[in-house]
Amino acid sequence: MNQAPQKKKGPIRFEAIIPVGILCTITFVYFSYYFDQHLKSGIEYVATQGNGAEVNVGSVHTSFLQGSFKLEKLEVTDKEQPTLNLIEIEKVHFKYLWDALLRFKFVVDDASIDNIQIGKPRKNPGKVLPPEPAKPSKLTEIQDQVLSQVKGKYSGNVLGDAVTLLDGGDYKDKIQEIRETLKSEARVNEMIQDVQTKKTFWDQKIKSLSDTSQLKSLEAQIQEISKEKNFIKQMESLKKITEGLSKTKKQLDEIKDSAKKLESEVKVVSSYPQEVKKLIDEDIAALKGRFAVPKIDFKEMAMHLFAGEFAETIAKARKYHALAKQYIPEKKDEEPILPPKRAEGKTYHFPTTKSYPLFWLKRAAISSKGTESTYSGQVSGELLNVTTEPKLISKPLELILKGDFNSAELFGVKLHLILDHSTNSPLASAQVAIASFPVKNKMFVQSDKLTFGLEKATGSSELKLKFQDQILKAQWTSSLSRLNYKLESSSSLAKEMLQNILQGIPKIQVNGLAEGPITSLQFDLKSNLGDDLSQGISREVGTKVAEAQAKIQSMIDAKINKPKADLDQLTNGFQMNGKTLQSLQDLYKKNEDKIKEEIEKIKKGGAQNSLDDLKSKGKKLLKGIKF
C-alpha cells in the first residue's frame, strides 16, 4: 500500500463550512418556496378549530428580508349558516420594523386590512366541526352575571298579566271556594285558648290574694291596744301584733312574686295582636300568589319591556371584553428587586431611550368598499396600538370604525373602542352607534293571552359602555320610528284598549342606564312606550287588581275579625288582672307601713305612760308619809 502524502490544511475548516452551507441553502429554499404554504395550512387549521367551522386562506406571503406578512382572502364560515361567510377579508398586510426584529420584538409600523365583507355567500358550504361536549363555559358564566340580574325580575309578561285581569279571570270564584283554615285563623284560636287558661288561673289567684281579713283584724287589734292603759298587757298584745305583721308581710311577698309573673305573661299576651297582624299579611300574600293576582308595577313598564334586551347587550360586551383581556394583559405592579445570588452578579439597567414591546401593531388601516349588489360594507377605520405591553408604550388600544352596510340596511355605523391597560386602573370603553337599522318582528310580549310587538320599524341606537375598577356604566339610547305594531289578544277589551293607546305613540324612545359592580347592576330604563302603556293600562287594570286584593282582604277579614276581636277582649281583660294585682300590692304596702308606724307609736307611748304612772304613784306615797 502506498502511503498518501499528508496535505497541509489551511486555517479555514471547510469540512464544517460545506455542510452548514448546504443546511443554510435548504433552509433558504424552504422559506422561499414552502414556508408560506405551510403557514397558510397552519393558520387554516388553528382558525378552524377556534371558529368551530371551516376557515380558508387564499394565500400567505412572507418576506424575511422585508419583514412583511401578507394574507389574502380570509374566509370565516358562519357556524350557524355554513353557506355564508361570517366575515371575509380581502387582504391583510403587515410590515415589521427591522430595528425591532433585531431585538426579537415584533413591531408593525403600518398595516392594512382591506375589504371586509359580512354574510357573503360561500362558493361551497363550509365544513362545520362536530360540537364539543357541553361544559360550563367561563364566558357563559360572565354573561350570566349580568343576565341573572334581570331574568325573572323583568319580563314582557307584565302585559299578559294585565290582559288576564282585563279578561275578568276566575280568581273571584276561587277565592269564594276557600274553606280551609287560614294560618292566622288557627293561631288566633290557639292564642284565645292560651289567654283564657291564663286568665282563669290568675282570676283565682288574685281572688285568694285579695283576702284582706288578716290585715283588717290586725288593724282592729292595734286600735284596741292603743286604748289599753296597762303597760304589761300592752306589751303582750304587741308581741301578738308583731307576729301577725310578719304573716301579712309574707302575704305581701307572695303578691309581689305573683305580680312579677303576671307582668311577664301580660307582656307575652300583649304581643299576640302584632303576631296576628303579621300572619294575616302572610295569608294575604299567599292567597294572592295562589290565585295569580299579578303584582303589576306600571312604573317599571319600560324595564319589563326592554331590560332583557339591554342586559343582553351588556352581557355581550362583557364577553368580548373578557376575551380581549386574555390578549391585552392588564398592568402589573413592578416586581420587587430581589438581591441576586452572588454568582449571578448585579445586572445594571440604563435609561431606555428606544425599546419595543414583544408585539406592537402601531396602526392598521381598515377599509372596505362595497356596492349595492355586494355584501361589503363601506367601512373605514383604524386599529391603533395593539400590544402585549401597554404599560411600555403608554397608549391605549383603539378601534375606530365608521361605515354603512347596504345589504344589511345598516347605515351610519360608528364604533369607537378603547382598551387602556397602561395605567394602574385599566379602562375599557366602547361607543357604538347606528344611525339607522331595520327592525323586523321584534316582539315585546308573546304569551297565550297577548302578542304585542313590532312587525316593522326603523331604529337608531347608541350604546356607551365604560368599565373601570370593576364598575360598569352602560348608557343606551334607542329610537324606533315608522312603527308597524303587531297586536293580538284573546281579550277584545284589552286589544281595543291597547290599540287606542298605541295610536298615540308614533315613535318609541328608550333611554337606559345600568351602573354598578358587574354582579349587582342598578338598571334604570325609561321609555315613552312604557309610560304611555302604563298610564292607559293602569287605569283599567289598576282597578281590577285593587278589586282582587280587596276581595282577598275582605275574605280574610270575615274569617279572622271575630276571633281577633275575641282575642283583643281577652287580652284587655287579662291586662286588667295585672292592674288589680298592682292595686292590691299598693294596699298591702300602705297598710304595712301604717301598722309599723302604729306599733312604734304604741311602744313609745306605752313606756311614757307607765313612767308617768309610777311617778304619780310615788308622789302619792310620799304625801301620805309626811316626815
Binding site: M1, Q3, A4, Q6, K7, K9, G10, P11, I12, R13, E15, A16, I17, V20, D99, L102, R103, R342, A343, E344, G345, K346, T347, Y348, H349, F350, P351, T352, T353, K354, S355
Partner: protein
C-alpha cells in the same frame, strides 16, 4: 458526546505530535474565554462560531474551558468588583446607555457585573494566554515528551507489534 471525545483524543494526539502548536494555542485561548464567561451569551456564541469555522483545536478549547470554569468560580468576586467599577463609572454611562438601546448588543449581557468583569479580564489576558500556552506546548514537547520517549517503557511499547500496526494505520490519511 462522541464528537467531544474524538476532539479530546485529537487534542492529546496533537499535543504529543510535532505540529499544530498554533491551533492548540488558539484552542486554549478560546477555552479560556469560554471558561471565564459565566453564561451563554453572544460573545460565547461568537467563540463557538470561530471554533467551528476556523481550524482551532476544539478539544483543547473544551478541556481548557472545563479547567477554567473552576478558576472562574473562585474569581467571581473579583469579576464582580471590576464589572461594578466599570459599569458604575459615570463617564462611561452615556456609552453604556447607547449600547443598551442598540439592537443585538444587549444580548452580550454587558450590563451584568460578572459578565463585564470577566469580559474585560479575558480580553486583556487572552493574548498573554495564547503566547503562554504556545511556549508551554513547545516546552512540553522539548522536555517532557522527549524524555518520555527515551524511557525504557516507551521503547518497549514501541517495539510491540500492536504499536507498529497502529502507527502504520495512523499514517494513512483516512479523512
Amino acid at each position: 458526546m462522541s464528537l467531544i471525545l474524538k476532539q479530546i483524543f485529537a487534542f492529546l494526539k496533537l499535543l504529543n505530535s510535532d505540529t499544530g502548536q498554533i491551533s492548540l494555542s488558539l484552542g486554549v485561548t478560546c477555552g479560556f474565554i469560554l471558561g471565564m464567561t459565566p453564561v451563554l451569551s453572544l460573545q460565547s456564541l461568537v467563540v463557538f462560531l470561530l471554533l467551528f469555522f476556523f481550524r482551532i483545536q476544539i478539544g483543547a478549547a473544551f478541556v481548557t474551558a472545563f479547567f477554567f470554569k473552576f478558576i472562574a468560580y473562585l474569581l467571581d468576586p473579583a469579576f464582580h468588583s471590576i464589572g461594578t467599577m466599570v459599569l458604575e463609572n459615570k463617564d462611561l454611562a452615556p456609552l453604556f446607555t447607547t449600547l443598551y438601546n442598540m439592537p443585538i448588543i444587549p444580548y452580550t449581557r454587558f450590563n451584568n457585573s460578572i459578565v463585564m468583569g470577566s469580559g474585560i479580564l479575558t480580553f486583556l489576558l487572552s493574548p498573554l494566554i495564547f503566547i503562554l500556552s504556545y511556549k508551554m506546548i513547545m516546552k512540553y514537547r522539548e522536555v517532557i515528551l522527549a524524555r518520555f520517549k527515551e524511557t525504557k517503557l516507551w521503547k518497549a511499547v514501541e517495539a510491540t507489534k500492536f504499536y507498529q500496526w497502529y502507527y502504520k494505520y495512523d499514517q494513512y490519511n483516512w479523512k
